[in-house]
């Protein structure tokens, strides 16, 4: 059992950057390029880890502690979120609230790091980050509340183990709504198109990438890794809802989940290739839309 | 006796209406003086002309004050300021008379709701006394000159006096003390104040006395 619990976390640690690789490959495919290797994110992280670092004279200790806090937070979160029906290291009632707020903590430090550099661009990014996250938070929590109310449990592990295909049959509309809401949350929180464009070359239009403009070397590596982890964890939540495979075979469960994760990454890549980034003014509408979907789901479930 | 008192009452009503309708200050002063003298005789009348020193003294003081001292004082004040008429009263003369008549009716009505608990000499005393008080107040309200206002006060005082003398038989001391004090106020205090006003403003148009407001 303990082996499986650790596996759950380790799986996240190992496979997380792969998602980035898959997305990039997908995008390359649709752009007709060969693209970078699938494992490029791993190489990048490794390369950065071995580099030296440049710090701005404006920065303070906050700038150095930030990446550490961010990484620690995703580690804890990885111990909470079950993937593919695996048991988790930390499982208690209300852990889903902790999960949501842990990301708040990491965001808090990311934003502060950005402000610490005294750069107006990074300040701009930070400002957008807090704006959009303030809107995704209700979508995430109300969505979680909806499934919690449906299943009658208040810990992620229990919730996901009790969602099954019957549940889908009983409350398909609600689940679909939540699925879409969480997909938007997933895209927004991970700074993907249509909310943010990680590949843009204009600092003015970026959100997450611009906040870490001044990070270099191992710090940047940690941040990149944490971001990948975050994507994995949010993806895991989505997986838990959409693919409720609970067979006796752990291997089957995990594979199914991994498959969905792969699809999710590909989907993200497709979205990024086929859509343009929304104008910043329209992003809040999208996010409020997500929150509305969550609310509708809750209404459907509790009616 | 009954008739005499009734006559006096009717005289009162008429003089009141005259006061309301007249603009010449000199005439007004004289009318009030006559009112005062006539009313000064009423206590003696009430006592059936029996001579009694206290009563006689009271009457004498009143007659002297209202009939002689006061008109003199006011006439002098009037001369000092060289105003012989009330100019632009707040309520015009004819309207004043109309209002006065209305007041008379109201006073009649009021007194009909106030039946006297004891036998009285004249049925007219209550309404007329009321009316005199009201017309005094009306004079104060409708006129601008301080002199006219003092006159109004005197008329009002006459009304109260009528009440006291004709109806309040059990408390002669109270009536006499009260009336004397009232007259004292009218003559001396208001007189003195008027003197000061005169000095300070060179006129006694109370129109000017409206700096203190809100």
């Amino acid at each position: 059992m303990i082996f499986l619990k650790i596996l759950n976390t380790v799986l996240a640690l190992i496979t997380a950057p792969l998602l980035l690789g898959i997305i990039n490959r997908t995008k390359a495919f649709f752009a007709g390029r060969n693209g970078q290797p699938l494992l490029q994110p791993y190489y990048d992280i490794w390369k950065l880890l071995n580099k030296g670092s440049v710090y701005s004279i404006a920065t303070s200790r906050i700038f150095r502690i930030g990446p550490v806090v961010g990484f620690s937070v995703v580690l804890i979160a990885a111990a909470i979120v079950p993937f593919g029906g695996l048991p988790v290291l930390l499982d208690f009632q209300g852990d889903l609230i902790l999960f949501a707020y842990l990301f708040g903590l990491s965001r808090f430090f990311t934003v502060l790091m950005a402000m610490d550099t005294a750069s107006s661009f990074e300040g701009m990014g930070a400002s957008r980050e807090v704006t959009f996250s303030a809107l995704t938070e209700p979508a995430l929590l109300i969505g979680l509340a909806a499934i919690a109310k449906y299943t009658g449990y208040v810990s992620l592990a229990q919730i996901f183990s009790s969602i099954n295909f019957d549940a889908w049959l009983n409350a398909a509309p609600a689940f679909i709504l939540i699925g879409f809401a969480f997909l938007i949350v997933f895209l927004s929180e991970n700074s993907r198109i249509p909310v943010d464009d990680p590949n843009t070359h204009l600092e003015l239009t970026m959100i997450h990438e611009v906040m870490i403009l001044d990070h270099s070397g191992p710090d940047l590596a940690i941040i990149l890794y944490s971001a990948a982890m975050k994507m994995w964890l949010l993806g895991a939540i989505l997986t838990g809802i959409v693919i409720p495979v609970h067979s006796d075979n752990v291997f089957l469960n995990v594979s199914a989940a991994l498959l969905f994760m792969l699809l999710l990454a590909v989907l993200t890549g497709i979205i990024e290739s086929s859509m343009a980034r929304l104008r910043l003014l329209h992003v809040p509408q999208l996010l409020i839309g997500a929150a509305t979907l969550s609310v509708l789901a809750l209404i459907l479930i509790l009616r | 006796m009954n008739n005499t008192l009734d006559t006096i009452m009717i005289f009162l009503v008429l003089t009141n209406l005259a006061l309301l309708g007249l603009s010449r200050l000199g005439t007004c002063i004289r009318i009030v003086a006559v009112q005062g003298v006539v009313l000064g005789l009423v206590p003696l009348l009430m006592n059936n002309w029996h001579f009694e020193i206290r009563l006689a003294a009271f009457s004498a003081v009143l007659i002297v004050l209202k009939g002689i001292v006061f008109p003199r004082l006011l006439t002098k004040a009037m001369r000092d300021i060289k105003t012989l008429r009330e100019i632009e009263p707040f309520i015009g003369y004819s309207s004043s008379i109309a209002l006065g008549t209305a007041l008379l009716i109201i006073c009649m009505w009021l007194s009909s709701h106030l039946p006297l608990p004891v036998e009285t000499i004249s049925e007219l005393t209550v309404p007329v006394a009321f009316f005199t008080i009201m017309s005094g107040l009306l004079l104060i309200i409708s006129r601008k000159k301080a002199i006219t206002q003092v006159l109004g006060y005197l008329v009002m005082e006459n009304g109260i006096y009528t009440f006291g003398v004709t109806l309040v038989e059990h408390q002669p001391v109270l009536v006499e003390l009260g009336i004397l004090l009232d007259v004292f106020v009218a003559v001396f205090v208001m007189g003195i104040t008027m003197f000061h006003i005169n000095r300070e403003f060179d006129h006694i148009d109370t129109d000017q006395l409206s700096n203190l407001k809100v």
Binding site: S53, Y55, I57, L90, A126, E137, V295 | I141
Partner: protein, 661 residues
Amino acid sequence: MSIFILGLTVILAGGLVSIFLGRRPALASFLAVAGAAVGSIISIFPCFKILLSGIAESMRLEWNVPFGSFFIKIDAISALFLIPIFGLSAIAAVYGMGYLSSYSSRKNLGVHWFFYNLLLIAMALVVVARNGVLFLVSWEIMSLSSFFLVTFEYEQEKTQKAGLIYLIAMHIGTAFLIAFFVLLGNHNGSMDFDKISVLPSSLASILFLLAIVGFGTKAGFMPFHVWLPYAHPAAPSHVSAVMSGVMIKTGIYGLVRTLTLLGTPPEWWCWTLIIIGAVSGVLGVLFALAQHDLKRLLAYHSVENIGIITIGLGVGLLGISKGSPVLVVLGFTGGLFHVINHAVFKGLLFLCAGSILHSCGTGHIDRLGGIIKRMPWTACTFLIGAIAISGLPPLNGFVSEFMIYLGVFKSDTGSGMNELIPSLIVIGSLSLIGGLALACFTKAFGVIFLGLPRSSEAQHAHEAGTCMRFSMVILAACCVILGIFSPLVIRFAENVIPEITSLNTEQIQIELSSASGILNHFVAASLILMGIIGIITVLHKLLFGRRIVREAVTWDCGYARPEPRMQYTATSFAQPLVDLFRFFLRTNKDISRSEDIFPAQSRLNTDTSDICEKYIYQPGFKFLSELLAKLRWLQHGRIQLYILYIALTLLILLIWKLMKA
């Protein structure tokens, strides 16, 4: 009880001595602060004892005023509120000694400290009073002494206005309370709280509404909160800390006490509380976001936190009316725990704001920057406070919000609209508040402490003195301790909740144990989190041991001459959210932009005035004063008119009264 009284006496003695030592400010301050601190420490012990044992102590003396009796009683609820009152006031007093030392030549500090100690005593009396008259008198002494504290710098126009608004708000609130206590007292036949008879439901509802307005004005419920953003910035910081940290909580106390007096609540009371809480919370934090002045920002956060507390109470009340022990325990525990937490972190933040004000001379956020390097203690403690108030793990602020969330998540009151709406309102507003508070405090901390100094004041900032640092560190430590020991701390509710509800103790015990079990997990997670942070920091250090680390200017995207003024300001940081919620905020923008080919100076000024003040109170008062002004012709100086009044009055009275006869 005698120990409690002894403590109060010491506090009073300190205050009285200091008022006679106006000529020797240092001694006066020291004695008063010593009195406040020692007295608080003495008095706080019986409170702990009562809170832990649940055995109330009371005292009743004759008091020769109409309907009054000196009846005081400390039960668990009182003790719960007394502990932060004494704790925070003592700490803030120590801080104040350092903070005010620079005023000693200009001001009579003796008077200030007298009122400070008086405020402390009055707050304590409010919480223990069990007689309506005693309560009202203490309540008003509390308002008045805090008024004198707020108007410490009375020669300033800002303070003058603040004092005026505060006083008027308090008075109107008290008018409602007078009606409240009188109605209650008349029904019970005595102004003492222990003579309770069952209230008819209509009367109970009227009383509830009166209490909401009366106590809500003090607590800062949304439409009645207008005094907060004025009073807190105007007051000296230690006073703001006490007022925001504990004084406004007496409003919450009053509400809780009311609930114990009114019997079983109908459901709409719970709705009312939850909606008031949600509105106060969300709008409070929104307005905070739009502020430029640090203390004003913090003041709006008080509104927000009062909102969270009220949501908690509303959830608890919902539990009572539906008979759900989970909701009762988690709602009340969360709400009341937030009372303590807010006292700690808001006290801390105001003290930090005071240090900034003290050292930079301005609380205007956009004129600060980069002072973390010069004020590391203040920065560090402010950071802890900021994390706590944003409700982020692992500090105390998260725990209380967590419990309220958990209550709603776990509620088992069946389905349907009755279940749906509270869940929706509570979760929606709490999560929105969380996100916005985060935005607000990253703005505050980021702009004030990080980056480069935006003005010469900020450039020459200096760290606060020992007294001030001491107080801030203690409070910051409390934030951590309350977070880490939360499973133990929430046991306070064991004795408090039975005072509020008639729920059986066993159920409460079960629910509390389960909650504290859950919190154990949470604490484990936080400890691990902190452990990991520690380990990784060490690894990080090791990693950098052999690396080349260089320093350079910030990447400026090709700008030739970056300068501190080009940094993102607080205003620009908050702009997207402010724009998004412009319907509520109605920020006034004053732009002067040059249209030339070679643009010269242009400026932008934003100002977010309070929506309630601007759209409710100001027009209301304006209407009223215009209406009254129209009636002033009634007395315009002419004596004729005056005599006419007499004559008319007489005539009308005679006609009217004699006609009847």
